[in-house]
Symmetry: C2
Subunit: 411 residues, 2 copies
Amino acid sequence: MSMTFDFAPLVPAGAPPPAARWTGSAKFNFTGGNNDADAVPLDGLMAAAQAVLAREGRSLSHYGLASGPQGYRPLRDFLAAKLKRDAGMACTADDILIVSGSLQALDLVNGALLGRGDTVICERDNYQGTLTRYQRLGVTAVGIPLDEHGMRIDALEAALAELKRQGVRPKFIYTIPTVQNPTGTILPKERRVALLKLADEYGVPIVEDDCYADLIWSGNRPPALYAMGKSENVIHIGSFSKSIAPALRVGFIVAPWSIMSRMLALKTDAGSGALEQMVLAEYCRDNFATHVPQLRVALRKKLDTLMEALNEQFGTAAEFAEPEGGIFLWVKLPDQVDTLALYQKALAAGVAINPGPEWSTDRVHSKSRMRLCFASPSQAEIREGIAVLADICRKEFGVPERSANVARAKG
Amino acid sequence: MSMTFDFAPLVPAGAPPPAARWTGSAKFNFTGGNNDADAVPLDGLMAAAQAVLAREGRSLSHYGLASGPQGYRPLRDFLAAKLKRDAGMACTADDILIVSGSLQALDLVNGALLGRGDTVICERDNYQGTLTRYQRLGVTAVGIPLDEHGMRIDALEAALAELKRQGVRPKFIYTIPTVQNPTGTILPKERRVALLKLADEYGVPIVEDDCYADLIWSGNRPPALYAMGKSENVIHIGSFSKSIAPALRVGFIVAPWSIMSRMLALKTDAGSGALEQMVLAEYCRDNFATHVPQLRVALRKKLDTLMEALNEQFGTAAEFAEPEGGIFLWVKLPDQVDTLALYQKALAAGVAINPGPEWSTDRVHSKSRMRLCFASPSQAEIREGIAVLADICRKEFGVPERSANVARAKG
C-alpha cells in the first residue's frame, strides 16, 4: 500500500520515450534557435513594459484582455502593417491568430489538417521540430531535394505526380521558403510562382513557415507565398523568436477564415501569454524597424566568424554555402563522418551540434551533414568551439589535417 | 485556378466544429475565470518587471532562459516554498514543471495517460474545460455525485467497485478537492484520507487540480492530496490565473519524475513564456503572501453582493450553498428552467451565464443549474445583471414573482 506507484502500465501505446533530466547546456552550444544576448533590446522592452502596463495593465484580469481569442489587437494591427510592408501581404487583424510561438502554430496546423496515415510534402532537409511532429502523428513526410535556390520545383512536380499516380492527395506542402532551415536558402520569386501553380493544379494547400524572413542580410525579401497566391490556399506562420527574443513565446498564423476557424477551435489554452503580447506590441510599433537591422549586423558578424573558423580549422573538408540570412549554417563534412556519432563525441567535449539525420527526411544524404547555429555563442566561443570540433573530426573520423591546398590554422 | 481553395475536404474526421467569429463580451458577464480588474497588483507587477528585466533580461535570448525545460528556476523555488507552507507539500524545484496555464497541464496529463476508449473518474459537476477535453479524446468520464463536502466517498467506492467488476481500470481520478469547480465545496481531511486509501486499493492515481486553493476566505486549507499520499500516486496542478491575473498564462504541475518525464516529453513548445515567469517570480517572492488576502476580501464582497441580489430577485427560487472561497456560485433554479435555453435568452439580453449541462457529466441533474462567476463584474453590474436574468426567468420560464415567503425586491 505504501509502495511507490507505477505509472508505466497506464501510459498509452505509442507515447514518446520519457524525457531525460536536464543537466545544463554545452559550453560551446551551436544548437537551438537561441539569439545574441547583447542584441536583446532590453531598454526598449523595459520602457515598453512600463508604458503598456501603466496604460492598460488592469486588463490582465481578463482572459484574452479585451481582444478576444485571436490575441491582443494592437499586436495584430502591428503585424498586419508589417506583413504588408515587408512581405506584400494584404491581411487585416482579423486574419491573424497570435499563438504561443511558431511551435504552437505547427501544432494547430497539424491538428486541423492531419490524421494518422496522411502524407505531407516538405523540403528534404528540414526543421527537426517539424519532422518529429510528423513522426509522432504517424504522417509520412515526402522530402523534396533543395539546391542553392531552395526547393527544387522539378522534384516537387515529380513527387506530386507520383503521389497522384498512387492515389495519394498530400494534405499540404510545408515549406520554409525564406531562409530555409537548415540550408539557409531563399526561394526566388519565379520558383514561388511555379510552386503556387503546382499547388493549385494538384489541389494541395501550402503551409509557409516564415520564421527567419526578418533576418536577411540585405533586408530585402521576396513577397510571401501568402501574398502571391490567388486562391487563398496558403497558411502563413511567423514568429518574434528570431527578431526579438526566443524566450518570449509569441508567434502568429495568417490564414483564410475557413481554416483559421478550425485552428482556433483547437486552441483551447485560454489565450497566449498576454504580458508578452502587450510588451511586444508596445515595443515593436516604434522600434521594430530600427532594431532588426542592428540585429542583422550582429548576426552577420558571427556568421563571418563561424565561416572563418571553419575554413581555418577544416579547410575544404567542411563544405557550405554562405547563407543570405538567418542564424545557422548547414555544413557538409567528409563522407566518413557520421554526424550522429560526432554529436555524441563532441557533446562529451563540450560542443553541441545538430546532427544532419535529425534535420532531414533522408538519412543517407544527411549522414555527414550538420547544422551549426551561430547567433548565441560569442565570437571567442565560436572560434574555440569549432577548433575543438575539428580536433575531434581529425582524431575520431580521420578528417585530414590538410584538405586540398588549405592548411589548417595553427592554434 | 483562381477560385477560393476549399480546405474542408482535408479536415480529418472527428475534428471539433469550427470556431465562430468573436463578437465581444456580454454586458453582464458571469462566465469565465476572469478576475477583479481593481485587484490586479499593477504597481507590484510593474516594479517586478523593471527589476527582473534590468537584472537578467538578456537571458531572454535563450529558450528556457538558463533554467532548462522545467521552467524559470526562481519561480519553481518560490512555488516549492509556497506549496510547503500552504499545502504541506514536500517538493523541490525538480518536482515542478511550469506550464502555459493549468489548461496546458490538463493537456499534458491527458496526453501522458489517456488513449481513446479509456475511462476516468471525476466529480459529477465539473470544470467544462476538463469535460470537453475528455469528450474530444474519446474518454469516458464517470461522474461522482458531490454533497456539501465535495466528492461523496461512498459513491466513489461504488463506482470503483463497479468498474472493477466490468474489468475497467480507470486511468485516474480527476478531482478539484479545494474549492471545487463549480460547486465551491472543499473536501475535508477525513475524505482526503479515504480517497487516497481507495486510490491505493484500486491502483488508480489521482490528478489533483488545485487552481482555486489560494482563494479560501479563511486562508486555511486542508493539506493537498499530493502532501498526504504515501505512494507517490498524485499529480498536482496549480495556477497563478486566479491569484494574480488570468491573462498571464502561467500554471504548474508537481509530479513524481516517473510521470513528469512523460509529460515533459510531450511539452514540445520550447518552454512557456519567460517574461511572465520572470515577472511572477520577482513579484511573488515578496508580495504573494500579502496580495492574496487583499484579493480574497474583494472577492468575498462580490460574492455577498451576488448572493444578496439572487435572494432579492429570485427569493427561494434560486438555491445555492455559500461557498467557502473561489470566484463562482453554483445555483439551482426551479425544475422548469432549462439553463441551456436560459443561456440563449439571457445572452440576447446581454447576460452571460454558464448553463449547467456544460458543467456536469449528468445532463438531467444539471438541467436547471447554472454557474455564476462573480469576480469580474462590478457590484453594480452584479445587481443589474441578476435583475435582468430574473426578469427573463419570470417571463420565459414562469419562475414566480414570489417564491415561498420571500417577495422580490422592487427595482
